[in-house]
Structure formats: C-alpha cells, structure tokens
Amino acid sequence: MSDATLSSAPALDLEAGRAGRRHLISRIVIYGLLTFFGIIYLMPLWVVFFNSFRPLAEISANGLIAFPQTFRLDAWPQAWSEFCIGGQCAGMQRYFWNSIMMVVPATIISTAMGAITGYVLSKWKFRGSEIIFGMMLLGVFMPGQIALLPWAFILGKIGLANSVYGLVLVHCIQGLAFTTLFCRNYFVGIPDDLVKAARIDGAGFWRIFYRIILPISPPILIVTVIWQFTGIWNEYLFGVVLNSGANQPITAALVALSMSGTTVRTYDVMSAAVLIGALPPLLVYFFGGKYFVRGLTQGAIK
C-alpha cells in the first residue's frame, strides 16, 4: 500500500506541477492582455492630466505626450474662472453650473417617468401595450439633427425657447425611450404572482409601485441615472442651439476652447478644462459602475 502511494506520489506531483504551470501561464496571459488594453485606455487620460500641469511653451516644444518638466498649477484656475469665452473672462464655472441645473432635473424626471412607464408596460398590460412599447423604442434610434427644428418650433409655441426649462423638457422626452426600455425589461423579471397576490389583497396601482417595485429597483434606477446623466451632460447640439448666451451648457465652453479657428491653441488650459468638464460623469461612473453591470444583468439585454 505504502509502496503504491509512494510510487504514485511523484506522478501526482508532476501532474500537479504541470497544471500549476499551465495555470501560471494563463494568469500571465490574462493579466498581460488586461495591462495591454489598460495602457491604451489610460493613455489619453494621462496625456490630458499631465498637459494640464505643463506650461504651454513646453507643450509646443516637447510635444503633447511627455512628463512635465516644469510643474505649473496655473491652468486650473485659468480654466475655471479666468479664461475668456465669448467675450466674458469668467472661465468655465458659469457653464458648469448651467449644466448642473439642466442635467439634474432632467435626469431625475426622465428616470422617474421611465420607471413608472416601465412599470405600467410590464405589470399592467392592456391591449396595445406591446405596440406602444415598440413605438417608444423607436425613439432610441432617432438621429438628433432631425429633431432640431421641430423642437425649436414647439418650444417657441409654448414659450420655453431659449430657457433651461425648455432644454429639460427636450432631454426628458428624448431620454424617455431609453429609460422606459431599461426599466420595463428589468421589471418584466419581477414575478407576476407577487403583483397578483398584492392586488388580491386589495393593493392599488401606486401601493404596489411603492411597496413592491421600488424597493427592488435601485440597480436599474442607477443604470438609468448613469446613462441619462452622462448622455445629457455630454450633449452639445441641443444645449447650444436651444439656449442662449448666459444659459449655455459646459459643452459649449469646451467647444469654444478646442475649436479656436485662427488663434493659438492653449493646450494647457484646454486640458484642465476637459478634466473639469469630464469630472461629474466620471464620478458618477466611478461610484455607480458596479451597479451598472449588475443592473444590466437583469435588464436592457433582452
């Protein structure tokens, strides 16, 4: 017995050794690939980050991709409160707050509307509800340029042209397709029996919503909030055209900085401005990223 085990032990070790090596090689390959892609993904961020600390003369001399030789913090306050955009030299902060005032209400309202509409279309089905869902879905695919003039006309007629409220309305309705899609597909996964039991118990439309649906919907609500916040924050065309002067969103400031036609490109201020402009959505993704995948696991991909 002991002879057998003694003689088979080295064979087992060899097997274990080979399996161990295979495992090590596969780990190296996996982490190697991850790092390779990681470098490509991070490179633009590094470039922008470093360039926001380099003086313009150094950037022009040494190219756009290099470690800072001189470290300067000037670009940041310049971008935030001193840079001249459209004749006013107050930097980006006004546009930043304009964007916040537009994006936060639009995100909240479109998410709420999407949740309720998704709830109805998944748990209170009626004749034609599938067709309505299909029609709303088409809204996901509409290109923006088509909607520009019709929206201008409608906003003009209801007196909301050139105001933040008008823009909030536009983004809510355009975002409704996405938010309804996400929420409905998620709620479909909630067992119908739960709802039926609640109705038998006498619970009404809103009661079921608050007691049953809402408590388990944080994942998809976070997905929706992330999606809407990012999309509306980064949107340029409608924000600029359906708005005026003092109310323009931050994307207008970014375009003013980056497409400066016949004047010098101020790469350092541009870098700082880009980082400031990207900060809110980046933070949203940073904190909500985990829920994004979790929420998608149960929604969107049906």
Partner: protein
C-alpha cells in the same frame, strides 16, 4: 479730420440722437448672435459691447463656438420659434436670402440720417441693401489677396522682393527649394484651400474669376483657364508646400512663415491681427503685398463681416438695433475694431494714419485704386458671391483636389463644374 467732415459728423450725430430719443420711453437693448466665441475675435466683439453700453444700451450676446453652421442652426431655431434675435452676424448672399424671407428690419431711416450711402464702399452697397433697403451694417473690409513674406527667409535664399506675377512666384519658389526652405506655408481646410485657389484664379484671369466664382457659370468652371489654374495649384501643393498640410491648424501653418521656416503665406488680412499680437512688425520683418497678379495693376478681393437686423416687436430691441447700427458704423468703432483685427474700415472716410499699420494703409490705398480700375471683386471662398450650395460644391472639389495627388487638373475642373451644375 477736417472742418467740413466735423460739421457733417456733428449734424449726423444730432439727427441720430433725435431719431433715437424719438421713442423716449424705450430703453435700447440688443441681443447679438455671432460665432466669435474665443480669442482675438471675441475680444473685438467685446469692444463693440463696451461702446454700445457706453452709449446707454444694454448689451447681451450669444457666442456660438465651432463652425458657422452652429450659429446658423441657432438662427434658424430662433426664427422658427418666432424669436429672431435683434442682431445677427451674417454676410454675403445670405443677407439677400434672409431679406427675401421678409424677416429683416428696415434701417433706411437711420441710414439716410447718417449718410451711409455716401461713405460705405460702393461694392458693399448691393450686399447690405439686397432689395434696395438697408438691412445690415458692415463692420469691416477684409482683403483676401495678400501674400505675406518673411524678409529674413527670403533674403537667405536670394529672393529680393515679393513676387508680382505667378511666373515670379514659381521662380522664387524654385530658389527657396534650392535653399532648403519650404516656399509656401499652408494648412489644408476647405476654406483655406479655397482661399489660395481663388487668388490663383483671380491673379491669372480676372474675367474667369468673375464668370466662374461670382456668377457661377458652369462652362467657365470647366474651361481651359480653370484647368490652367488647377495645374498651378497642383504645382504649388506638390512642390512648393510641405507634405504635412492636412490636419494642420491655422496657427501652426502661419507660424511656419513667421518663424522663417517658409518664405510665403497666402492668407487674408486677419493674419495681420495675429502677426501684430505675436510682436512682428508688418512691413518690416514680415512683408505684405498683393498676391501674384499676371495682368498687372491693383487688384482686390473683398470680404466683409456684417451684422444683420431682424424685425422685432419689442420697442426696446428696436431702439437697441438702431443704436447698435449707429455704433457699428461710427468712425470710432470702425477704427478701434479694425486696428485690432487687421482689416480696414467699411467707411472710406476714416483716416488710417492714426493707429493703423503700414499694410492696412496700403490695403485701403489699393482698395481705392482697385475701385477706380474696375478690378474689385468679392470673395467666393469667404461667402460673398454665390449661394452656399454652389460654394459648398466648389470648395468640396478644391479641397479634395488639394488632398488627392492622383486627381488631374482636368478631372478637377470637370468635377467642380458637374457638382455645381447638379445643384442648379
């Protein structure tokens, strides 16, 4: 300024003040829509705002960055919403198109009171008065057909002066190449390629320029003369410019000339504004001259920025428009604005010896000479002649030609003619 003009000015000011204070209770305010959102241009518009405010008006502006298309999109959105802005930066044939929609305001009363017809350059009048009535106020006159030369670079390769004809230009360039320098600084964008090309066409054959680029005649676009112009352009692109013109921005391209890496640069007079802002002395370090012209004599390709006024219901805006128009055409504004920008005033009676540099003074002198000689034309590349749909077709072909070494001159001429014809 002499006594007589002082009196005239004083009289005009009094009448204007009377007109403006006519609707006594209205407080003039204006909302101006324009595309000069950053840099020098924005600073110049800020000056307009300051002068407007100094005269008692409330100034508001919407500056839309990026392409002109964004500003025009906003204008359309506003008009469709029923909210046309009081003042918009528009130019060229678009002024006529918008006037034809009936939405523009009639500034004749103010124009007559201030005597605009007498002082504004005659070539601009049909543009500002498309249906016989004043609807726009010109801010400046830009000259397109300038060639800029770096004096030190030129001397280092043995070129004594700026070339006068295209044959001179080619000869000078051959010397530049022999001396190891780039001859012509350039950056490829649809408008800059078109700018260079139209100076070639204008310089070779002014009648061809008129027929092809002002009237949009398809046969002229297809003609032998046009093929010859494309051939000159091909020579320039392939040999006299450096290979990296695509994707380069204005500043980098222009710096090649001002640093001495290249001898020449063909560009409109806003280059003057840039040169002055980087500390060069026009006329001394950097020479300015009329771009090469084979038929000798004064030539001038004109571009003009202007502000169009749209009908307003609110009397405050109506007053504001009049105040703004009056401010724009005032000699003070015309001086201050144009000194900074590098262009010359739209009024011919402003004295350029106060604060304008040598090249600007030369520009005005040559403008007057060109008017007398009958060689003054407006610029196609800068949207002063044909409708945008034709201009777009022409510029697409020109920029494609510049970026396609395998396209022949004859092909290019035919493609351009076909493209314009397809839009008719």
């Amino acid at each position: 300024m002499n006594f007589k003009s002082k009196v005239a000015l004083g009289a005009a000011a009094t009448i204007t003040a009377a007109l403006l204070s006519g609707t006594a209770m209205a407080e003039p305010k204006v909302l101006m829509l324009h595309q000069w959102a950053s840099g020098n241009d924005a600073a110049s518009i800020a000056k307009l705002g300051e002068m407007f405010t100094a005269k008692g008006g409330t100034w508001e502006q919407t500056a839309i960055a990026g392409h002109t298309a964004n500003t025009l999109a906003k204008l359309r959105a506003d008009v469709v919403a029923g909210n046309a802005p009081a003042a918009v930066q528009l130019k060229g044939p678009e002024i006529a198109e918008w006037a034809a929609t009936g939405g523009t305001a009639d500034m004749d009363e103010l124009a007559t009171a201030e005597g605009w017809d007498a002082v504004v350059a005659p070539e601009l009048l049909p543009v500002m008065k498309p249906q016989g009535k004043w609807v726009a106020a010109p801010m400046n006159i830009h000259r397109i057909n300038w060639i800029w030369g770096n004096k030190a670079a030129m001397e280092s390769v043995g070129v004594a002066e700026l070339p006068k004809t295209w044959a001179d230009f080619n000869a000078a360039c051959d010397k530049a190449i022999a001396g190891g320098k780039v001859c012509l600084a350039h950056f490829s964008a649809d408008w800059s390629d078109a700018t260079t090309f139209e100076t070639v066409v204008y310089g070779q054959d002014i009648d061809l320029y008129r027929k092809a680029f002002v009237e949009g005649d398809v046969e002229a676009l297809r003609s032998e003369g046009m093929i010859k112009a494309f051939e000159q352009m091909k020579l320039m692109v392939s040999t006299y410019m450096d290979p990296a013109i695509a994707g380069r921005d204005y500043d980098t391209g222009a710096n090649m000339m001002s640093n001495g890496d290249a001898l020449f640069f063909i560009m409109g007079d806003w280059e003057l504004g840039r040169l002055v802002s980087i500390g060069k002395t026009p006329g001394a370090d950097i020479l300015c001259g009329q771009s090469p012209t084979d038929w000798g004599g004064n030539g001038f390709i004109l571009n003009s920025d202007s502000v169009v006024f749209f009908n307003q219901n609110n009397p405050d805006f109506q007053e504001g428009q009049k105040l703004l128009a009056s401010t724009i055409l005032s000699p003070e504004f015309q001086s201050v604005f144009n000194i900074a920008k590098g262009s010359i005033p739209a009024r011919l009676d402003v004295d350029l010896t106060q604060g304008f540099n040598a090249c600007q003074q030369q520009s005005q002198a040559e403008l007057k000479g060109s008017i007398e000689a009958g060689t003054l034309v407006r610029s196609m590349a800068h949207n002063m002649t044909v409708l945008q749909k034709y201009r777009g077709a022409m510029m697409d072909t020109i920029t494609e030609f510049v970026n396609s070494p395998e396209m022949s001159a004859e092909e290019a001429a035919n493609i351009m003619a076909d493209a314009v014809e397809a839009q008719m």
